[in-house]
């Protein structure tokens, strides 16, 4: 029993390798049926049904909207401040807040801020850059960026037990099965 206990703490998760997306999906469904909730799939291409099955929420669109609004305010605010508050120049009585000519810069700043938010937000939410990750030490994992589909049941799953996870995944059409050690 104590042996298993030690195993449990040294184990980052149990990783199964599948030949295609359909088998991966079956693997996920079996793991979910067995009560596992914390798992991650690794695929060579984006797969929406897998993401749907794993139930992820994505706050990125909201962040990008906020980024764009901030960009618009900064863009217009800067021009307003410069032309009306900081250095007003009266040119034949023309209005200082000549907003139509401020639109192009406001627009460009909106796009710039929104685009930067999209990229930096995506990286931040994904926890990237992170050059190393325990799953990289798994044998054959380099194929996740070629043609193989992986399912990892994570050690912090509330019902996680290395043996139990192993037994669950053993019953699926996997190509290989291994324990990923904790670094």
């Amino acid at each position: 029993m104590s042996q298993a206990h030690v195993e449990k703490h040294r184990c980052f998760g149990v990783l199964a390798e599948y030949p295609d997306g359909a088998e991966l999906m079956k693997g996920i469904q079996k793991a979910q049926a067995d009560g596992f909730t914390k798992m991650e799939a690794y695929t060579p291409l984006p797969m929406h049904d897998i993401a749907h099955q794993l139930g992820y929420k994505n706050p990125l669109p909201l962040l990008v909207l906020i980024g764009g609004l901030v960009g618009a305010s900064v863009g217009f605010g800067m021009q307003y401040y410069a032309s009306v508050v900081h250095y007003p120049v009266n040119i034949g009585g023309r209005p200082l807040n000549s907003w139509p000519s401020f639109i192009p810069v406001t627009f460009e700043m909106t796009i710039l801020f929104a685009a930067l938010t999209a990229v930096l937000g995506m990286l931040a939410l994904n926890g990237l850059p992170r050059p190393h990750h325990p799953v990289f030490s798994a044998e054959g994992f380099e194929l996740a960026s070629r043609n193989r589909f992986f399912l990892l049941i994570l050690h912090y799953d509330p019902v996680f037990d290395a043996d139990k996870a192993w037994r669950t995944l053993e019953g699926t059409q996997k190509l290989s099965l291994q324990e990923v050690p904790h670094p």
Partner: protein
């Protein structure tokens, strides 16, 4: 040349049959990682390097002696520098169009050409940026164009199209670079996982930032990519619109016209697609990528060249029509001057290149022939350069008062700078082809039947 099989009556495919997830991954990574660099690459890089040296000398002479070494004079203050700027920026626009607008329209065929088209955008914008920067005269003070707190308490003129241009072009350069890099991340991970030598593993690993294809990451990645496409689409239109405002907001005959923004945007797409064809046709041949960049891709691009070419022709017709219909003597003088003045050769050559030549693309035989397409694309590139020459030079050299008229002849340093930017463009492009995947690997995976199936399968109950 092995072409996509063209069975009786059927359209050629966007990807040759028989490819799987592993074959597309291997074929594209192999070009970068294991395949020997073709001799043509060294030859091309040698030429690019020589041209790059021409650029360096032209800039050196310019900085030492000032812009007096150029042919610009008092009425023609905008010479080759602005012509080349607009030309390069326009070329860049096709890259964004392919990667962003075609993505939004779910045109899957863009997948095999978007990566190098995006790279083309980035490098074209880099070339474009050089010209206005040098044209300001004292480029070391170019930061004066930006709003920043300073002891003079001054801000730039926010009501000027030239300042809008600064914001538009710098935003465009930034967003293009982001879009390109984000698209590269999963492919850099593929290269990291395939690379044999440690230094390359580390370098690609740094670029990949630890990408591991986790579903959670893919979800956010795709959202970010789609949003970037959505943002880049209005951006690309705004950039060339703002570039056209540089002309349209002034009161020079031939510039002060409402047709300018749409006409400029269409012209940009037109020249950009011509440039994509110019690059894609030799590349697919040299690297044996006919399976991925098929005849059907070339046909589609040829159709876009034809369509945008017709819009540009409409622009030329409207310029002449406005001149007549407005009954404005200066507009009439402008169009007469274009047709019969000292620069009439450029106007008629422009019509030959941009209005007459693309009409050949109505023929399917021409659209399916790489040789024809290549030649037409080159002619269109020349034509679009001439268009900007006509707009800038004929209008400035003869505006209102005959006493202020003068002609403009570019000097060897004008030409040196222009030819030199080809060196910069080619050198960057060749380095990109050598060290990065020129076709998006992960998007190609979604094109093969297995990937397509894996992706589209509905969640089971």
């Amino acid at each position: 040349m092995s072409q996509a099989p063209q069975t009786s009556g059927e359209k050629p495919e966007f990807i040759a049959p028989g490819h799987t997830l592993s074959t597309v991954s291997d074929k594209i990574t192999k070009i970068v990682l294991t395949r020997e660099t073709p001799r043509g690459w060294y030859l091309g890089f040698g030429i690019a390097f020589l041209l790059l040296m021409v650029l360096v000398s032209s800039i050196g002479v310019l900085l030492l002696k000032g812009i007096g070494v150029w042919g610009i004079n008092v009425p023609v203050g905008w010479g080759l520098a602005i012509i080349n700027f607009v030309w390069w920026i326009g070329i860049g626009h096709a890259g964004t169009l392919i990667s962003a607008i075609l993505l939004l329209f779910r045109q899957d065929w863009r997948t095999s050409i978007n990566r190098f088209a995006e790279a083309m955008t980035l490098f074209a914008v880099a070339c474009a940026g050089i010209f206005p920067l040098l044209h300001v005269g004292r480029p070391w003070l170019a930061y004066w164009l930006l709003p920043y707190p300073n002891t003079m308490s001054l801000f730039p003129q926010f009501r000027s199209p030239l300042l809008w241009d600064v914001f538009a072009v710098s935003t465009y350069a930034t967003v293009s670079a982001l879009f390109w890099y984000v698209g590269l991340i999963p492919d850099l991970a593929s290269l990291r996982d395939r690379a044999k030598s440690k230094p390359w593993k580390i370098l690609y690993g740094i670029g990949a930032m630890g990408w591991r294809g986790a579903t959670r990451h893919w979800e956010r990645y795709e959202t970010a990519y789609l949003l970037l496409a959505g943002l880049a689409t209005p951006l690309v239109i705004s950039v060339h619109t703002v570039v056209s405002f540089d002309f349209a907001v002034s009161v020079i005959p031939g510039w002060h016209a409402t047709i300018m923004p749409p006409y400029f945007v269409a012209g940009a797409i037109y020249s950009g697609f011509a440039m994509v064809l110019t690059l894609a046709i030799p590349l697919r041949k040299i690297y044996g990528l006919e399976d991925f960049i098929t005849v059907r891709h070339l046909q589609n691009m040829a159709k876009i060249v034809l369509a945008t070419g017709m819009i540009v022709c409409y622009g030329y017709a409207m310029e002449a029509f406005f001149a007549w219909y407005s009954a404005n003597p200066y507009e009439e003088a402008m169009i007469t001057n274009r047709m019969t003045g000292p620069y009439a050769w450029s106007y008629w050559m422009l019509l030959a290149c941009n209005a007459a030549t693309p009409q050949l693309l109505w023929f399917k035989k021409v659209r399916s022939s790489t040789a024809w397409l290549f030649v037409i694309a080159l002619i269109v590139n020349v034509g679009m350069w001439l268009e900007r020459f006509v707009i800038v030079v004929t209008s400035l050299s003869r505006d209102y008062l005959p006493s202020s008229w003068d002609t403009y002849t570019p000097t060897k340093w004008d030409w040196g700078l222009y030819v030199g930017t080809f060196g910069l463009f080619l050198a960057l492009l060749l380095l990109f082809i050598r060290f990065l995947p020129m076709i998006s690997i992960f998007e190609m995976r979604t094109m093969v039947p297995a990937g397509d199936e894996a992706q589209k399968k509905e969640p089971h109950a």
